[in-house]
């Protein structure tokens, strides 16, 4: 019997492909955001409002991940021609090679910003570096104010938190101060942007953040610690 010592990250290949994505995006001058959130938290609705608000300001491409169907891409194509749908075929997250396939269908050199809409899930996507420059974790008031406490991994990985559907606050038992306290128990300097894609409330802060990020005034995430 022989022991073969290895000591290697199991996702080493994904990490290497993500690094290649990061290089290709940097070469093309494209900033990249990985948007993560639970199914139904409002990611696609936010992107519809975002693309509409950024029209004429930034050239935005989208890689939309879903288990199946092209429904998200069909919604987004009304706002930008640069949309690729990735179907993971049952897998609950996007991986770096799938994002690369999506990137290959987009005119990178024409883009300022690439938004990856990850598969709706708050656990699995966190493990997979995609080559993004920033990770945005999206929650919504309909999910309850304790959601961050139930999903610390995504909170620890995020560069920004979005709280969506704030127009529905009067109708659901959601306490924003408790939501913020749960976040502050893990990261007391993590920015939170409350907004509603439907009413437009709070959207301008998100658009400013994206515009700054897309224009390159925000820091690039060079190396993910997890």
């Amino acid at each position: 019997m022989a022991e073969i010592p290895v000591v290697a990250k199991v996702l080493k290949l994904n990490d290497e492909l993500a690094a290649m994505n990061r290089l290709a995006l940097a070469d093309a001058g494209v900033r990249c955001v990985n948007l993560m959130g639970a199914p139904g938290c409002g990611k696609t609705a936010l992107l519809e409002a975002t693309l509409s608000a950024l029209a004429g300001k930034l050239m935005v491409g989208v890689v939309a991940g879903d288990i199946a169907t092209t429904r998200d891409a069909e919604r987004l194509i009304a706002h930008t021609p640069h949309v690729t749908q990735i179907n993971t075929g049952g897998s609950c997250h996007l991986e770096a090679h799938q994002v690369r396939q999506g990137m290959d269908h987009l005119p990178l050199t024409d883009l300022d910003l690439l938004i990856i809409e990850n598969v709706g899930n708050l656990i699995c996507p966190v493990s997979f570096d995609l080559g993004e420059g920033a990770r945005v974790a999206m929650f919504s008031v309909t999910e309850g104010h304790d959601k961050p406490a139930k999903h610390p991994s995504v909170v620890l990985a995020a560069d920004l938190v979005i709280l969506g559907k704030i127009d529905l606050k009067p109708y659901v038992p959601f306490d924003e101060s408790i939501f913020r306290a749960y976040l502050a128990n893990m990261r007391d300097n993590l920015a939170v942007l409350p907004l509603s894609a439907t009413s437009g409330e709070g959207l301008s802060a998100w658009i400013s953040w994206l515009t700054d990020f897309g224009a390159g005034s925000s820091g690039f995430r060079v190396n993910l610690s997890i």
């Binding site: 019997m1 022991e3 290895v6 290697a8 199991v10 966190v126 610390p152 991994s153 128990n185 893990m186």
Partner: protein, 117 residues
């Protein structure tokens, strides 16, 4: 259910380190607490995926790695009991950097060399 993707990546890696004539006996991996991987699902996927291969019957041994963080404010290292409560016990600031407890690491393989017959 990212256990399937992680197990597939693990098998690929194990295969690349397995000597041509070797039979796999055991695989040792470290799984970070923050990965939220179910060890029973991992073991089952590993067993099913290795059927009818040189890896059949091999044992997957999983060593859980609890979360360990460093406070970016005062550099105190500690192991939080609850990953959702990361306020530094030393300075009261919640700016943790993960030191251990994330990622999956292939530590080693145990292999039985066959006689080539």
């Amino acid at each position: 259910m990212h256990e399937a993707a992680i197990t597939a990546a693990l098998l690929e890696q194990v295969r690349s380190f397995l000597p041509e004539r070797g039979r796999l006996i055991e695989v040792h991996i470290e799984v970070g607490e923050m990965e939220h991987l179910d060890p029973v699902v991992m073991e089952t996927l590993f067993a099913v995926s290795t059927e009818d291969t040189r890896m059949a019957g091999a044992v997957l041994t999983i060593y859980p790695v609890p979360l360990s963080v460093c406070c970016e404010n005062c550099m105190e290292n500690w192991m939080p009991e609850d990953p959702a409560l990361l306020v530094c016990p030393q300075c009261g600031v919640a700016r943790p950097k993960i030191i251990e407890g994330s990622g999956v690491l292939l530590r080693s393989l145990e292999v039985e060399e066959s006689d080539g017959g």
